[in-house]
């Protein structure tokens, strides 16, 4: 799929932008702090209804617009082509004053002019984004990796976001009850209701994650093998906090790099096992006043030649693994949805050697639409620049350098 037209109002440093977008590679060129990354963030927002950065959704509303205590609105409108059909997607971010000096962010989404719940709009338009800070996915805390996986799944599985948020709601209720039972005692049987709800929703999430990690690993392994000239084997190891596979009792913990095949598990098996485990943990969880297992504590590790990249990866290794992961996400989305996602790569060239640059560019030319940023257009080979559209990004404005093309 690809964007035909994009208009942006009051998003980051773009007060107003209205631009047609060609179906090919677009190079966004500009000095630091001009708006290159912000433009990618805007396009990604249309796919995920959230920023790729954690917890910054309200910060994307233009400062000047958000200043003062009146209502502030940022607006993104995209027209895009998906197979044979053309759609219009509009995302409104509304910062509205509440109480004496607080503000609340509200999101509204319109699909082809009709208002839709945000959960349902996610994934209509697909994009994969890479920014250098995303090495945090590999080096950072487990929540970074869960968020990575959640955002990718949200675009591919229509019910994922809703299930995840319902799971969060059930988890809050269960934790509140555990706390009550801990502090004031009461009928322990009440837990049964929340055990059921939690394991019903949790098992769906676990199964989706099992499949996603496995499929992503297949693509990432292949790409990484090529990117490292056959010198590294990349593995993604999913470590579910509630692991539906029976652990060998009384043995040393399994080596991380031993692949575990969970692909034959059935939803009901996972749910039954999850409920049973919650039952076994009941006394302990009441004593601690909190749920101790489940998708909220899942972990995914990345390994190169059996070595945990989060702990031992070199900078270059991590960057390459991240690129493999992102290209895998592109392939996976394409396989799952039947369409190319729009590819948004921020400063991806800078740290690649010449050979890898040209490999990557050759791959990107096969896709439908790519937005690539760089401070210096000479980062790209002249032949590649000729094929691409070059846009100059300057202080929140965009100029097409080759408008006739």
């Amino acid at each position: 799929m690809y964007l035909n037209h994009l208009s942006i109002t009051n998003f980051r440093n773009f007060a107003r932008l209205d631009i047609d977008i060609p179906r090919r590679v677009i190079l966004l060129v500009g000095d630091n702090a001009q708006g290159k990354t912000s433009l990618l963030e805007a396009v990604y927002f249309l796919a995920a209804c959230t920023s790729f950065q954690t917890n910054v959704d309200r910060q994307v509303v233009n400062f000047l617009e958000a200043k003062g205590d009146s209502l502030a609105v940022a607006r993104l409108v995209a027209e895009f082509q998906k197979g044979n059909s053309r759609h219009r997607l509009e995302v409104r971010l509304i910062l509205e004053p509440i109480g004496s000096n607080g503000k609340r962010l509200r999101k509204e989404v319109l699909v082809d002019g009709v208002k839709k719940p945000v959960n349902e709009a996610i994934g209509l338009f697909n994009a994969v984004v890479f920014v250098p800070q995303m090495s945090q996915i590999i080096e950072g805390r487990p929540e970074e990796r869960r968020r990575y996986l959640d955002l990718a799944l949200a675009q591919v599985i229509p019910a994922y976001t809703r299930t995840l948020s319902e799971y969060g709601q059930a988890l809050s209720q269960r934790n509140a009850l555990l706390k009550l039972l801990n502090e004031r005692g009461g009928d322990v049987d009440q837990l049964f209701v929340w055990d059921e709800t939690l394991s019903r929703l949790g098992s769906e999430i676990i199964l989706w994650r099992i499949r996603a990690v496995q499929e992503l690993e297949r693509f990432a392994g292949r790409t990484h093998h090529r990117l490292t000239n056959g010198s590294e084997i990349l593995r993604l190891a999913y470590q579910p906090s509630y692991d539906p596979l029976p652990k060998p009792e009384g043995q040393i913990p399994m080596e991380l790099d031993t692949p575990v095949d969970r692909s034959n598990l059935k939803l009901e098996e996972i749910q039954i096992g999850f409920t049973e485990r919650l039952n076994q943990l009941r006394q302990e969880e009441i004593a601690r006043g909190v749920t101790t297992i489940g998708p909220q504590r899942d972990e995914i590790r990345l390994l190169a030649n059996g070595l945990d990249l989060g702990d031992y990866g070199s900078r270059g290794q991590i960057r390459t693994a991240l690129l493999s992961l992102k290209l895998a996400e592109v392939e996976w989305m394409k396989e799952r949805t039947g369409h190319w996602p729009v590819i948004l790569f921020d400063e991806v060239m800078a740290e690649l050697d010449l050979q890898r640059r040209s490999d990557l560019l050759a791959y990107l030319e096969e896709s439908e639409q790519v937005l690539l940023t760089a401070t210096d257009v000479n980062m790209f080979a002249p032949g590649f620049i000729e094929q691409a559209a070059v846009w100059d990004v300057q202080a929140g404005t965009v100029k097409n350098r080759s408008p006739e093309a």
Binding site: G99, N119, Q173, A176, G186, Q190, V193, T197
Partner: protein, 202 residues
């Protein structure tokens, strides 16, 4: 610092305790009533007094009824089938079901749903009286008609577990597509639920 006159402050405090009303709206409403013609305030005051004086809850099903009556119209009607109980969250739900004209059993109003976050457990709802009603043996079917929200579902699950062992037939209100609705325009969760709750054709 200027203090608000006591009566005004008392009204603001009282309004603030209402659901969905913050300090700002509470003072706005209070000043509105202060400026409003005499009878507007008097009407409201009368309505509030009447509410407490003339309305009570049915001792059988906890639906609203006129003060002085122990049981509501539905409970007292010999035409209603005492063998079927429909369990709802609020009295308003009774009204909605009555308007359909298609239900001839009796009701039981829970006055809320289980929600540990808000500190509401089974003992805070009219669940014990429900169990007692069923234990008396007249009832052969209980229809769980709590809302299809997470807390409504959880409450239904809890009731199901409690009632099952009494040997009564427990059913849950079907959830599905709105009549006259277009499949194409149904939201995903409604569609998924309708699919999960599909029935054999007969």
């Amino acid at each position: 610092m200027m203090l608000l006159p006591d009566p005004l402050q008392k009204l603001i405090n009282a309004l603030e305790r209402l659901p969905g009303i913050g300090p700002k709206s509470a003072s706005r409403l209070a000043f509105f009533l202060l400026r409003a013609p005499e009878d507007a305030a008097a009407d409201l005051a009368d309505a509030l007094t009447d509410l407490k004086e003339k309305i009570a809850f049915c001792q059988e099903c906890f639906n609203i009824t006129e003060a002085g009556r122990e049981r509501c119209e539905v409970c007292e009607s010999p035409q209603r089938d005492a063998g079927i109980l429909c369990v709802v969250e609020e009295a308003l739900d009774v009204l909605a079901l009555e308007r359909t004209g298609g239900y001839f059993g009796k009701y039981h109003v829970l006055h809320g749903v289980i929600s540990p976050i808000e500190g509401i457990g089974p003992d805070d709802l009219k669940i014990k009286p429900l169990i007692e009603r069923v234990e008396r043996g007249e009832v052969n079917e209980v229809i769980l008609a709590t809302n299809p929200s997470m807390e409504g579902d959880a409450t239904a699950l809890y009731l199901h577990q409690q009632l099952e062992r009494l040997g009564v037939n427990v059913t849950r209100l079907a959830r599905g597509l709105p009549v006259g609705g277009d499949l194409e325009y149904a939201d995903q969760s409604t569609l998924l639920r309708a699919l999960a709750g599909r029935q054999a054709m007969n």
